[in-house]
């Protein structure tokens, strides 16, 4: 038994204690005692270990954009659709490839294994950090399955009195056509979590816990919020949520724990004295998970303490500013514009850039020293071809790449600025497709943005240089 297992409560230590109560020390656990009783493991195990026994690769630095996890009640219909698609895809893996560790059952079994069957991360300081790591990989897998690494889990903000029922998406429709549904819940769609379980006095008790030991627990005991509100909500939802071995089978688990994780985040922010444990025994706690590419990864408690910088999400309503991603390097992709004055994005380049975008990275188009009419202030739209420029369908239309304003510096209509007019466009995947010639030969063109029904004059792009850049957001540690 490792020292980590010694420090937690159940089931292994309870077995030992139990045996001691019966007068049997650990030494009495001779296998010959019940020699004939050995059963195959599968006959007894509720769930198998979630991972492969090989050496886990270290978790990679994550430099995707920092994006908000938002209250489940605020998701737009598109976002809810995406969430359901992600869980649908995860559930589909259960049948299409039961050995895929990203499947829903396999995901649920992680909780089963870590919470009783193999070890126990509850009732100790492992609780908050382990669940944060578990949700992080779960979130990445969901994102990967819908091809959007900018996907972030929502959270069920049961602490706000208006949101005490199960979030609508998880009960509507209230049958198995809904991938967010679970048929074992005790809570009906109209039932509410009792105020005494998640109300102000409970939240106040959690957020004002004075030390990490009181809030997050110790090596051998839980902190205040693990019982209430966390445990209470598990019991209130009921069904699979009431048991460690099955809680992960209810998709509500992940939005519930997202809110529990937010409480940890809020506790840290509530006071400068609310700091996490610096005990190396805590910081070096290490767990292993499969990532979105089925790579077996290890992650430590120290690696999850700052969810914004390390795990790339924040809580709260979407802020008006965009937090800068910690882009590792910008890699320049040269073109032969200087010679041919045309842009050719070959398939290989397009695919490479698309992959970076899928990971949550950035791809950009740069136009250097752009020539534009300088006799008036105007806003120009850039398109991939003269035809799409002529059609001028705007930001969500065909061939659109970006908008570029020319502002006159004085009323006399003179541009006094000597700065080169350089245009930088953040590319999306459809824009990449437009640039790679999917809609005809690429001949960059501008039109002046005016009201509807104008007959736009198409201006071919004249620029000293046109090139592309990409910024990968993650790579293996050296």
């Amino acid at each position: 038994m490792s020292s980590r297992e010694e420090s937690v409560i159940t089931p292994l230590p309870s077995r030992r204690r139990f045996l001691q109560q019966l007068g049997l020390g650990a030494g009495a656990l001779g296998f010959s005692m019940f020699g004939g009783l050995a059963l195959p493991q599968s006959a007894l195990a509720v769930c198998e270990p979630p991972g492969n026994p090989g050496t886990a690769k270290r978790w990679r630095k994550d430099c995707r954009m920092i994006l908000p996890r938002r209250p489940a009640s605020t998701l737009s219909s598109d976002e809810l659709k995406k969430l359901k698609e992600a869980y649908q895809a995860m559930r589909a893996l259960d049948t299409s490839d039961p050995s895929d560790p990203r499947g829903f059952k396999r995901q649920a079994n992680i909780h089963c294994w870590y919470c009783g069957e193999g070890t126990q991360v509850h009732f100790s300081w492992q609780f908050f950090a382990w669940h944060r790591a578990y949700l992080y990989f779960h979130e990445r897998i969901l994102g990967k399955l819908i091809g959007d690494m900018n996907f972030r889990l929502p959270y069920w903000d049961w602490d706000s009195p208006a949101h005490r029922t199960l979030p609508a998406g998880y009960t509507s429709p209230n049958d198995n056509s809904n991938p967010l549904w679970n048929g074992t819940r005790d809570m009906s769609p109209t039932d509410e979590i009792p105020n005494e379980d998640v109300g102000d006095s409970v939240m106040d008790a959690a957020l004002t816990a004075g030390t990490f030991a009181e809030f997050g627990g110790t090596a051998g005991g839980s902190g205040i919020p693990e019982g209430a509100p966390h445990g209470s909500v598990h019991v209130d939802v009921g069904g699979d949520m009431g048991f460690f071995d099955s809680a992960g089978k209810d998709p509500i688990f992940y939005v519930h724990h997202s809110n529990v994780d937010k409480i940890w985040s809020d506790w840290n922010k509530a006071s400068s004295t609310h700091t996490n444990s610096t005990d190396p025994a805590f910081l070096n706690l290490t767990w292993t998970f499969f990532d979105e590419n089925k790579v077996w990864r290890s992650m430590t408690a120290a690696q999850v303490l700052n969810h914004e910088n390390q795990l790339r999400y924040l809580y709260g309503p979407s802020k008006f500013f965009e937090l800068l991603p910690c882009l590792l390097d910008w890699i320049v992709i040269r073109t032969d514009w200087r010679i041919s004055k045309t842009l050719k994005v070959v398939r290989q380049t397009r695919d490479k850039m698309a992959k970076v975008l899928e990971q949550g990275g950035r791809a950009r188009l740069h136009l250097t020293d752009l020539s534009l009419p300088l006799d008036k202030s105007a806003v120009y739209r850039l398109y991939a071809t003269p035809e799409t420029a002529k059609a001028d369908e705007g930001p969500s239309g065909k061939g659109y790449l970006g908008t570029f304003p020319i502002v006159l510096n004085d009323r006399a209509g003179r541009h006094t600025s000597k700065q080169a007019r350089n245009m930088v466009v953040n590319l999306s995947t459809p824009m990449l497709d437009a640039l790679s010639g999917a809609q005809g030969p690429v001949r960059l063109a501008l039109v002046e943005r005016k009201g509807k029904n104008h007959n736009p004059t198409v201006i071919p792009v004249r620029a000293k240089d046109v090139h592309l850049t990409i910024a990968e957001v993650e790579r293996e540690d050296k």
């Binding site: 045996l19 009783l37 009732f123 959690a206 009181e214 209470s232 598990h234």
Partner: protein
């Protein structure tokens, strides 16, 4: 895995020898009110040596009856069960329930009162008492954190 088999067999023997039901009085406790509890920033009920079923999710709900014969809820906290098929109990060395706001909101206590009588009930998600389960705590006490 053989150890698991041994354990299951042993726990089966033990569960047969455990009392089937708890008597009513077992879950009434008289706890000492710590000195200057009214000034404490946090007051918590500490349950030590807690044994709950491994196969029943429950909340432990703490109440007290006021002089006016009103039942007041002091606090409540949930315990996730290990699994539906677990026969052995779940043991928690310490389990804390915050009672700060509720205790301070109680009607004025009698001068010099040093103890509080409480009842702790195991309830389900709808706060319906679970009368058919057995749970116990070796010790129950109040703990305070001062500024």
């Amino acid at each position: 895995m053989t150890r698991r088999v041994v354990f299951l067999v042993l726990s089966l023997i033990a569960s047969l020898s455990m009392p089937a039901h708890a008597d009513e009085e077992k879950h009434h406790f008289t706890v000492a009110l710590p000195a200057q509890w009214e000034d404490a920033t946090r007051i918590r009920l500490v349950l030590e040596g807690l044994t709950v079923p491994g196969d029943r999710p429950l909340k432990l709900r703490v109440t007290t009856v006021t002089d006016e014969q009103q039942t007041m809820v002091l606090g409540s906290a949930g315990i996730v069960a290990e699994r539906r098929t677990r026969s052995e109990p779940q043991l928690l060395p310490t389990f804390r329930i915050d009672v700060t706001q509720s205790l301070k909101a109680l009607p004025k206590r009698r001068e010099g009162e040093q103890h509080l009588t409480i009842e702790i009930q195991a309830v389900d998600g709808r706060n319906v008492p679970l009368t058919d389960i057995d749970w116990s705590a070796e010790n129950v006490r109040l703990e305070t954190k001062q500024k």
